[in-house]
Amino acid sequence: MRSLVFALIALLTSLAVQAADPIGRVKRVSGSVWVDRAGQSLAVQPGMALQVGDRLRTGADGMAGVTLADDSLLTAGHNSQLLINDFQFNTSTHEGGMLATLSRGSLHVVTGLIAKKTPEKVNFKTPSVVLGVRGTEFIVDVPEGRE
């Protein structure tokens, strides 16, 4: 009986995880790319759905291109770590906000529909700087050896 209850709880928990809204998808992958999620490190394939709290990591040979739900395009270069701290987007009103942190590596950004409506709600962080977006395309580079 007890094991049945545990099985049921496990099932419900996995359903809850699956039900989390994807905030975007990895579209392009080359070399080694992982997503750290809930203490696990998952190998990334093109098409993989992303969630708030995911940390995208690329190896020395790895690069990845991501399209978020508001059409933002994020491309991570070699040896990069990008955490999606926060992302909300309402597809009816286009209200929302996002924060992402590049702790190392390089990142190319094309901002999307949130930045079009409320650019002040779109922010990126590095170890030393906060970037406030005013509707934009840009590159951020955090070389290795800086912690």
Binding site: V66, D71, G77, L131, R134, T136, F138, I139, V140, E144
Partner: protein
């Protein structure tokens, strides 16, 4: 002797590490797809420096010992340093439009073949997905138009699914009367605004 060599090596390593540590964090503002530069505001997390505004194409900021320094990069320099990164960018979204008859959720016949184009374009794109967004004109209340626009999007999803497009690759949204193609007065009927936009990305 061995010890001296090891020491030199250590010093070399230390020098290399120091050189690495001196590579600055860098931000470069690029022109957008239409060639316009927009703007970025940079705020150091520590120190008392006021924010630095980048608002010119290829404006560059380097963080050196806690301080932001502005400079200017160029298209060539960016290509040289970041060419492979730029080449890895996902496909920009493309939009197809189909139109609806007044107050109904039926497609106009002229635009039905667009759905076949959408299916072909989706099949040709790796990890592609469709975002189907309904729109209305300004006849009726905003709330009713929210519902109608979502119903239109759902109709298009069903049509695409019936054509063999995998349902899990299609998400729907209703924008109501918020985003007219042609601005009108309230309660004005406007066929061009009664539409569904199908975005492939």
């Amino acid at each position: 002797m061995k010890r001296a060599a090891a020491l030199v090596l250590t010093m070399l390593l230390a020098t290399l590490l120091a050189a690495c540590a001196q590579l600055p964090e860098r931000v470069i503002l690029l022109p957008d797809a239409e060639g316009r530069a927009s703007a970025l505001q940079l705020q150091p997390l520590e120190g008392a420096q006021s924010p630095l505004l980048l608002n010119q194409a290829y404006a560059q900021a380097d963080l050196v010992r806690g301080e932001l320094r502005s400079g200017l990069s160029s298209a060539e320099a960016v290509q040289q340093a970041y060419g492979p990164l730029l080449a890895m960018q996902p496909q920009r979204p493309r939009t197809f439009i189909v139109h609806f008859r007044t107050n109904a959720d039926g497609l106009t016949p002229e635009t039905a073949p667009v759905l076949a184009q959408v299916r072909a374009a989706l099949a040709a794109q790796a990890a592609g997905e469709l975002i189907v967004t309904g729109h209305t004109d300004r006849v009726g209340s905003p709330e009713a138009n929210d519902r109608l626009s979502l119903a239109r999007a759902q109709t298009v999803r069903e049509l695409l699914a019936a054509m063999g497009v995998a349902r899990e690759l299609i998400s729907v949204a209703g924008r109501g009367e918020r985003e007219p193609l042609v601005p009108t007065a309230d309660e004005a009927a406007e066929a061009r605004n009664r539409r569904v936009e199908i975005k492939l990305r």
